[in-house]
Symmetry: C2
Subunit: 294 residues, 2 copies
Amino acid sequence: MIDIERFLEVERKRINLALGQYFPPDAPPAVSAAMRYSLEAGGKRLRPILTLAAAKTLGSEDDADLEVACALEFIHTYSLIHDDLPAMDDSNLRRGIPSCHRVYGDAMAILAGDALLTLAFETVAGYGSREGYERKAVRIAAELSAAAGAAGMIGGQALDLDAEGRDISLSEIDRISALKTGALLRAAAACGGIAAGATEQQLKALRAYGSNIGKAFQVVDDLLDYESTTEELGKPAGADQVRFKATYPAFFGPEGTKKRAESFYNEALSALNELDCPAGLLKGLAKKIIDRKK
Amino acid sequence: MIDIERFLEVERKRINLALGQYFPPDAPPAVSAAMRYSLEAGGKRLRPILTLAAAKTLGSEDDADLEVACALEFIHTYSLIHDDLPAMDDSNLRRGIPSCHRVYGDAMAILAGDALLTLAFETVAGYGSREGYERKAVRIAAELSAAAGAAGMIGGQALDLDAEGRDISLSEIDRISALKTGALLRAAAACGGIAAGATEQQLKALRAYGSNIGKAFQVVDDLLDYESTTEELGKPAGADQVRFKATYPAFFGPEGTKKRAESFYNEALSALNELDCPAGLLKGLAKKIIDRKK
């Protein structure tokens, strides 16, 4: 029986300790302070956790997996910093504290985001500098860049901006969610698989799993924004409605949205059957995502 | 005898044709249009040219070198898009036409920059997906990310922002220039070397060469901004003075600045002696940088 709470606690601690260790030591303090501020603001560390859980599920006990996991968190944190900018979502609060640009100014927040995105690939290159890791590092860089780039997360953000303030179809909402959130979660699971030496079939299963928990995550996110207070969320609640953003509750109402989350959850679980190994950890993670309250 | 003009013409054409080929085909048009706009606005293509020239100097005739070269241009173009944003240098004109955010808005310009940075590493990963190229790709990703990141180009931009409107020392100007411009030119030369299988001594020479032509380039850039009209430059002239930015002419006057450019040029040439192969092409490039009028 896997103790998911224990796994989360131990791995979050390892991740939090490791994140600062890949910073270039000779970076000017102005920019590294802004990078650290957003990284250390907390957060669930869902993406790096997912990478480590996928690797562990396939039997990896390699300490180097942690570098791959941290690369995922760097990309996620950069995306939050840029999304919060006045030119984008204009959000003053993130993870319960003022967002990066509110503390360091817009210019430094742009640079801190750029630097974290770059650091993600520097960290993957560091991972690949070990003898015998080169091919895995190249595949991880390919997976990550495709997921984070114009046909992935950034593309989703572009579609989301484009959709603001106008009626959009359900298939558009689905596509935005799949790109904005699903792509990076899918890559998080797949990168853990690559690090662990997954077969093609296992990688396919991990991608389907990641993609579906990404969808479930976005649905729950929208629901929490719809139902919660700002204090509970740690970021402005109801912001989606104020900005007329494309969300699931606007389409299905809260009850229909919950059902949708459950259906993605079930799809994620059935993808795991193709892994051909015990996947209690990944199942537990999916459950946590469905049940989360913030 | 090397025909530098012919080399530049042929290679620029190859680069311009290639740049669009690495775009993910399924990216939303909104963001790829903004990416293309800035890429196709022209520019000297100095960084990819430098990569190809370094590789050719060491005897490489590999078509795949072009991918590495394009990655350098993606990073350079992203940095221009973000630098021009209102929150940063607030520049309306770039390469003779309205800058990216003036056409596509600030939000899309931020995303286009992010996407080009990501595309650089996706392209390097594509380069490394060939059998036997994995190790070179990892080393190129390491070189590029270090040069572009918080301890390189982004760090230089952060220092530059920090220095605006106050008196700074010559050593600070030197450091800003070395990071803002020198780091990526150094990486451009080094990445060409890595692609060509350079020895450690040759890589060291290429880095010293690139670093010094980077310094020369920045000095000439400052001088052109000081002396030119907006029409000649294709970007707002005199902008540095208006913003009280740290520049060489403000320190040495125009004549002293020219001498400084020549001294960096001479250092670049002497670094080439350590290459142990004919380096007429790289010498010719350095001369072009010193003599350029825009």
